[in-house]
Symmetry: C2
């Protein structure tokens, strides 16, 4: 009931049982994905994209679904991730409500939605599911693994747990572990949902739905996805016009920035499963690549094997995954022997810049992938 | 029922009616205050402190109330605000629930608490009330007006509306107007309270009290009062010990940072009136000194007359009142002809640094006040 699956979605069946990092297993689980471009005969031109927490697998338009994707300007023929050259896969996160098996999916044991019977979800589970998909598509090694935000965490877990499966890596607005300010933000988002009487321990339906809680959670999210600087220029102190204001509502919205948040919330609240939100949100808090190295994330990163080149991009106005965290990723990958470029961008849009700042992100990604393409052609000739 | 008044509080009756900036008036209203030190015969040694949104007038211990005040290290004999030299007044904000007339006070028209019948509250109303108190205490001119956070906004309104009533000024973590990121934060805090079914349009009682909403609002507040940097060092990824965790609570608190926020919320929720919170919070959003100068706050600041010297302090890690806003205040006051020192401090504690970073704030305030004392002694001799 609370799954939101774009047309054109394809599915891959995971091993059953699919064991989960923190215990338990999924039975008959699957991940949703889409692809663009053509896999070469030697299966060497695949790029896998691991998205953030909310997006589905529909990163770009396709014949099966001509609607624009969430990274439309990034993926396509002649675009930075050039589908004339690369075979591009985007996989919806395990635990999401956008096609991959999550709390809103049917539990084969009961014939009803899992809800809170879904097992504890970790970032590492998403990484393992993505690695199974890659192998399932007959790909031994990805030319490049790209991760954004939560997906950039998943990418680090992927590289760490499945060495050699990705030859190159682009890490965008990522982190090797969750830090307390962002944990606090997400904890508050979860509290907003849990406090909503309609959440009801995960047992809501369309008529009694935790609308207020989801709205609060989304607004708090949007606030930390953007930046104060951007909003100063964009909204200033401009008031909502009277048709977007309810002057009889005590302490109701009055400023444009409040209307913007409200509009974001409205678009989200009934298009994302609240339980999925809780599971994925907590998986981010739990993530700490350093777990495998006595809590030292740089040390854990330095043990990642087999990645030739990496591009690590951060945004200076990002308050959710602050730039120091991308600096740390780059430092760790360098210690791992990966030829790493760290690119701190001055985009004003904060964490979300990778979704909207095409001007800065497009040339960065295009340049890195062009270098890879050249290097690989050269390697082919030498071989 | 929801007023929280420290022992030793004194009251000053405001003019009745007391007209409010946005319309309406208060009848029989009063402000709560405390004083320390002795007013000179020439009444020239008075310092008025305008606190932030939540503190009461008990800024320091006194004979009437020996409990430590919220600025205990700042005020007292031999302390930065030296009560051996200065007569120090601290006034609780109009609209608060800590002694001054606010939504939790009795409405003389009905014999019941105002609740939402309290008139629209503006920062300027608090400034006018404070100016009445100063005159009421027989003081023509303050030696120095000190404002923190919301109180620093009130101080700017005071200087602008009551020229010549303050000879010198210390502005701490203030702003000449609310900007969209902080408006969004406060809007969300108000939404958390309004969404709580127990808020009930302002008609709660002790048994049906908007505890969840107030808790959320406070946590969101505390997050923006401190800084990510401080929390990285203070909490990292440390887990709560088992006695502070309820493992049966789905998605319950697990990290120390979550326990810290919960403890802050618990201390606040039943010690602050939710309606007062809403009124004061919105008054901050509404504040724009630039209103009087076609939206140009620097221009408005440059029209402030009669302030000889000012010290403007900001904190580089403050995300609620970012340092650019204190820079703007300093620029405006300089254009007004005030000899202004702008002091950007590297305190890691964010907006709240002025409450806790004695090491940096004590010498700054002490130094400025010593300069004043010397200058005034000199002026006395010359005269």
């Amino acid at each position: 009931m609370f799954e939101f699956i774009p047309p054109g979605t394809r599915w891959f069946d995971l091993d059953s049982p699919f064991p989960m990092k923190r215990g338990g297993a999924l039975h008959g689980a699957r991940v949703a994905y889409e692809t663009w471009g053509t896999l070469d005969a030697d299966r060497g031109n695949a790029i896998l994209i691991l998205p953030g927490m909310s997006p589905d697998a529909h990163a770009a338009s396709s014949a099966a679904n001509p609607a624009p994707g969430w990274w439309e300007w990034m993926i396509g023929t002649g675009k930075p991730i050039d589908t004339g050259r690369w075979f591009v896969i985007c996989v919806n996160a395990l635990g999401s409500c956008k096609g991959s098996t999550g709390p809103a999916s049917l539990n084969p044991d009961t014939g009803k939605a899992y809800r809170l019977d879904y097992p504890d979800l970790s970032i590492e589970d998403g990484a393992d599911a993505a690695a199974e998909l890659v192998r399932g598509l007959g790909i031994d090694q990805l030319a490049c693994l790209i991760g954004n935000s939560m997906g950039a965490m998943t990418a680090l877990a992927f590289l760490s747990r499945h060495p050699g499966v990705a030859r190159n890596h682009i890490n965008i607005c990522g982190a090797a572990r969750a830090l307390p300010f962002s944990i606090a933000i997400r904890s508050l988002q979860r509290e907003a949902i849990r406090n909503d009487p309609n959440w009801n321990g995960g047992n809501y339906d369309e008529r009694t739905y935790p609308e207020n809680g989801m709205g609060m959670a989304r607004k708090l999210g949007v606030m930390t996805y953007r930046s104060a600087l951007e909003w100063d220029g964009r909204f200033g102190r401009v008031r909502l016009d009277s048709e977007h204001r309810d002057d009889d509502e005590p302490f109701g919205a009055e400023f444009e920035v409040e209307g913007y948040l409200e509009a974001h919330a409205r678009r989200f609240v009934h298009h994302y499963d609240p339980n999925s939100y809780l599971y994925l949100s907590r998986s981010i808090d739990w993530f700490d690549l350093g777990e495998t190295a006595d809590g030292d994330s740089v040390q854990a990163l330095s043990r990642i094997e087999g990645v030739e080149r990496a591009l690590v991009i951060g945004v200076k106005t990002d308050i959710l995954f602050p730039i120091q965290q991308q600096e740390e990723i780059a430092a760790g990958l360098r210690r791992a022997g990966t030829e790493t470029r760290f690119l701190p961008l001055p985009s004003p849009q904060g964490h979300d810049a990778f979704l909207v700042d095409a001007e800065r992100f497009a040339p960065a990604v295009a340049g890195f992938l062009r270098t890879l393409a050249h290097a690989e052609l050269l390697a082919d000739k030498v071989a």
